[in-house]
Symmetry: C2
Amino acid sequence: MTTTTDLTPLLSALRHIVGDSYLLTEGDLTGYEQDWRKRTRGRALAVVRPGTTAEVSAVVKACVAAGVSLVPQGGNTGLVNGSTPDDSGRQVVLSLGRMAAIRAVDPDNLTVTVEAGCVLQVLQQAMEQQGFLFPLSLAAEGSCMIGGNLASNAGGTQVLRYGNARELCLGLEIVNAQGEVWDGLSGLRKDNTGYDLRNLFVGSEGTLGIITAATMKLFPLPAATLTAWAAVPSMEAAVTLLGLAQKHLGANLTGFEAMGQFALSLVGKHMPQLRVPFLGDADVPYCVLLENSDSESEEHARAQFERLLETAIEHGVVSDAVVAENIAQAQGLWHIRENIPMAQAEEGLNVKHDISVPVSKIAEFVSITDGLLREAIPGVRLVNFGHLGDGNLHYNVQAPAEGDIKAFLVEREHEINDIVYRSVASFDGSFSAEHGVGGMKVHELEQYESPTALAMMRAIKTALDPQNTMNPGRMLAA
Amino acid sequence: MTTTTDLTPLLSALRHIVGDSYLLTEGDLTGYEQDWRKRTRGRALAVVRPGTTAEVSAVVKACVAAGVSLVPQGGNTGLVNGSTPDDSGRQVVLSLGRMAAIRAVDPDNLTVTVEAGCVLQVLQQAMEQQGFLFPLSLAAEGSCMIGGNLASNAGGTQVLRYGNARELCLGLEIVNAQGEVWDGLSGLRKDNTGYDLRNLFVGSEGTLGIITAATMKLFPLPAATLTAWAAVPSMEAAVTLLGLAQKHLGANLTGFEAMGQFALSLVGKHMPQLRVPFLGDADVPYCVLLENSDSESEEHARAQFERLLETAIEHGVVSDAVVAENIAQAQGLWHIRENIPMAQAEEGLNVKHDISVPVSKIAEFVSITDGLLREAIPGVRLVNFGHLGDGNLHYNVQAPAEGDIKAFLVEREHEINDIVYRSVASFDGSFSAEHGVGGMKVHELEQYESPTALAMMRAIKTALDPQNTMNPGRMLAA
């Protein structure tokens, strides 16, 4: 891939396939070359923007023939540098953004078939207008695209009830590493005919082929969705509350987010217009946001919620709670949760983690890891929040309030990651719950994954992409 | 694999690994060599019954060294000849039956870790005693084992709400085709670190490695489970009823089974002790069994059910309905559904199908395929029933009432399969919704799967099992 062959003929071929306007080699390519968090910037030979699956196929075949590798890209909102080119200037970025059509909705089958470049929020809203819920929901939903959501098996806030992007997907259309099209756009909920190629491509981060379209599950819109905010005396109590909520609400429990008081204090400090319940209360180390989606009625949802919270207060796992009275209040509560990352950024640079451990081990994990970090770095500040219902915490580490933050990051980031990921491993957890591996965590995958599993992953990569055309060096070392 | 090497040293090695009592070469091996429906019988070199994962690993390594292939076997209840040996007398059957331990239950994480040889019903009952629901449920649950359920991605009656075996599985312990152990027993609901090996092994029918243990999801027991039986005027009405039930009951709808009047008439004829509602009513071509699992109370479940059925009657999609008054009545209704295959067997040999099409196309599929079969085979009788909520029908074909049934099967089975599977394909359906491919449907996979997908499957098989040690000739031609 690092030959010095003249690539002008490839560029001509690509221009011929997609048309002049959709082969970008000049001008500002920052949006394609720089990662979402603006921490790395690569340089592309070209950005190619095909408009059809046939064009994607032709682009891949041209690149294979020229020995040039491809970086598939959706909304480029990933957090692990998985969708931007390296700095060789010899990779082609294949942007799916023009393939944004909602191809078909099947109301009786409760499915939608959609192209990879459709923005998640566009899909959510279009489905809602037709009376359906498409439940995948995450912070970047205004920019991320469904193909990238699937390639990275996106998670978000509704996983507790509806699963990750993987569980919402019934079928894929793929252009593989040879440029061949596989139409696996099944709307079937049961189909046991051969190996599960769909799930192999979901979460493969563009390293095996390109997702061009998908058939996704829909759900009836709930009759009412209510949100509550509960003060809990400890992380242990939050886990007990989760069990109570699952027992009382069953599948109606669609959200369960935990937030540490320091994380909330940053919202209070940097977004004073957001009114954070129980802010600064020393007896409230954590708050929990609960969402209850009811197929019956708002009255029923409210009664169920109140019964749950009364029981939780009786059991001492909730000290106080509010239930949003209307949609605006509910949105306000969600805004607090969603603005934690922004408040954190306002406070200054920090080391982010996206970890998961079994729900039963969360409290002990947090207690032990907090201790390890405080011992290693006096004054360190822990911004702990996340999808507790899935065992997934964004366990972020903020520099001490005093001192040079940039120097802190440069000096301590590696050490901090090491402390956190070793602790995660000791609790049978994952160093990447929902963000994936990308270019950023290749080393962690090698360090923490079993050699047997790694060998099988490498064998699969070599079998399906022997020329290493697809996103080389991401997920697995090149 | 077909050399004539002396295999005595291998047998000694296997005996050494598992102990004398657990290497079977003599006596009645019918239970291991014959398939569940007693249609084929192979001949094994030996049946080996390891008691630990380490023993499974050693057995695989010994067979690899000797160039002998393995047939992994659980309860041997599969319906596609996937778990019995060929007739060469040179394959080793590896039975997981001794590895039946429930290793650990994690109540806060809602997971259980269980060995492959645990019988499904044993697991269901053990979990219920601890206050949890393990929802996988299917006809063979008294004999089938969890490892086989995962290797074949078993479906059953609760898929509508809880998914197939695949969706219930969070992690696997695997012995791969080289005899290496991968401990992937994760209890995590989110883990995006590398390719999805778990889902690749789920549904791989023993052709990539051996599942020795799994971590599975649990659910809180519902407060009440109610069953209703509705008479519907057509298959179209049944599909409309499904949509209404999904809207009204949400995730509480845990079962939705449709049964044609002829299928029910066979139950009425051969099991007269079972009282079939609406039996023989000419205005009731189909009945639907609905199950409603409520986390609140029986009163609430009953009120919800009654509201749904009233709405359905108003809309003309249900002509009459009964809701079981107690558990015995509910079990009685389920018995009718579960006894259709037995009643069919009593009536005589028949050609079974396990197909799925998108729910939106079921009515048209049935109408057209019924017509094609009746045209080709005057007097043919169609036993149509199944998991309508998943688009999965057991669309079975019974010989005409008069004539030589055995001769009919021999002469017409191929033609019947051809008519049904071509029709399924024209409706974007699957020729094997939940039973898998095994040895029986290798040809159908080659005929109906896309060449691109087949090539990727073959590449994966070769990459992970280059010696073709694991269940050769099943799923993919050897």
